[in-house]
């Protein structure tokens, strides 16, 4: 398991917090549609029986010893991938938003383009994704910021559906300042550092059950402010620096 015909080791990292209702469906989809990849669920101290369901399905499950929140749960998975010699990591959400068959598109794209990161984009072409207006505005804003400062168009900088190559796996697992929300800011930083990032259009669904980490009224606003602030700091940090990959 974990190897495709080209003997690449692929790991699908799924951070999960209280996703007992969705996780089994996600796992089954992955097993069916991208069966050469290993699956790793990072159980971020769920209060429900997420771990039990994951183990019942014969999938590896890392239990964080305290709730680290989304970003650091993902980083735990990336560290595991690095230590176990995986060539590619595909980040997927446990809420069923990301579709397993689309994950393969990311993997194929990273192989084809030899990019460091491939982002699954909802907005590159019209995929019919019913995006809330506030999120759409935010996405557009960060797309403009990234294009302004890195001259690279990233249509969906807030997408967590990504495929990373070994270089990025190594970088993310060793970096000390992995951000709390690894979205537009992290993409911008990687572009500043000279990593090659491409996008591929993917379909996504809306979550069926459970609560999103960006739910409510205050959380999205806080998220946008933090993202914006981090982008500004990055512009200052990398001002005048040459973009050479490490």
């Amino acid at each position: 398991m974990g190897k495709n015909a080209d003997v690449d080791k692929v790991l699908i990292v799924i951070p999960a917090y209280n996703e007992a209702d969705n996780i089994e469906k996600v796992i089954n989809e992955i097993k069916k549609d991208i069966n050469y990849a290993d699956i790793l669920v990072i159980n971020d101290c769920s209060k429900d029986n997420t771990e039990e369901i994951v183990r019942k399905n014969g999938v590896k499950c890392i239990n964080n010893i305290f709730n680290m929140r989304y970003a650091w749960a993902v980083q735990t998975g990336i560290k595991y991938a690095y230590q176990n010699g995986y060539d590619y990591v595909i980040q997927m959400d446990a809420d069923g938003q990301h579709i397993a068959s689309e994950a393969e598109k990311l993997y194929k794209e990273i192989k084809k383009t030899n990019a460091d990161i491939v982002i699954g984009s909802r907005y590159l072409v019209d995929t019919g994704y019913p995006c809330p207006l506030f999120r759409r505005i935010g996405t557009k804003l960060f797309e403009i910021i990234i294009r302004l400062f890195t001259h690279k168009k990233i249509a969906d900088p807030l997408s967590g559906f990504q495929c990373l190559n070994r270089d990025v796996i190594e970088y993310y697992s060793k970096v000390g300042n992995y951000p709390e929300f690894p979205d537009a800011n992290l993409i911008m930083e990687m572009l500043f550092k000279g990593y090659k990032i491409t996008e591929t259009p993917v379909k996504m669904r809306l979550r069926e059950t459970g609560e999103s980490m960006h739910g409510g009224f205050i959380k999205p606003i806080k998220y946008m402010i933090k993202q914006f602030y981090e982008c500004v700091v990055l512009v200052v940090k990398y001002f005048g620096k040459r973009r050479i990959k490490r």
Partner: protein
């Protein structure tokens, strides 16, 4: 009388700092600012006129304002240093926890 009260207070705080250092409850590096603060307090209690002189020197007409300004600056710097330290500690704790989680899973796999 007020002067004696402040001298005693400053001396007591210095003694408390020294005892804390001796009992390893406060590191020498972390105690630096507090000790400096206490020594300043002690000097000002023994020579209260020195505050007037200092205030005149920097052009502040109301000497207690100088004392409060210096105190605010010191507390601001301390707060900043502590914020940085908390950030470093947070990263280390997260690193350790992630490493522990991964190792636990590896042990599980080998069972």
């Amino acid at each position: 009388m007020k002067r004696i009260y402040f001298i005693v207070l400053a001396a007591l705080v210095i003694i408390y700092m020294i005892v804390s250092i001796r009992k390893n409850k406060l590191s020498v590096t972390n105690s630096f600012f507090w000790i400096l603060f206490c020594i300043c307090m002690l000097v000002l209690s023994i020579f209260p006129k020195s505050l007037d002189w200092l205030a005149k020197l920097v052009g502040i007409t109301y000497p207690p304002a100088l004392f409060l300004t210096i105190a605010a600056v010191i507390l601001f710097i301390l707060n900043f240093i502590h914020s940085k330290k908390i950030e470093v500690l947070n990263k280390k704790v997260t690193d350790l926890a992630q490493e522990l989680s991964v190792v636990k899973e590896k042990v599980n796999e080998k069972k």
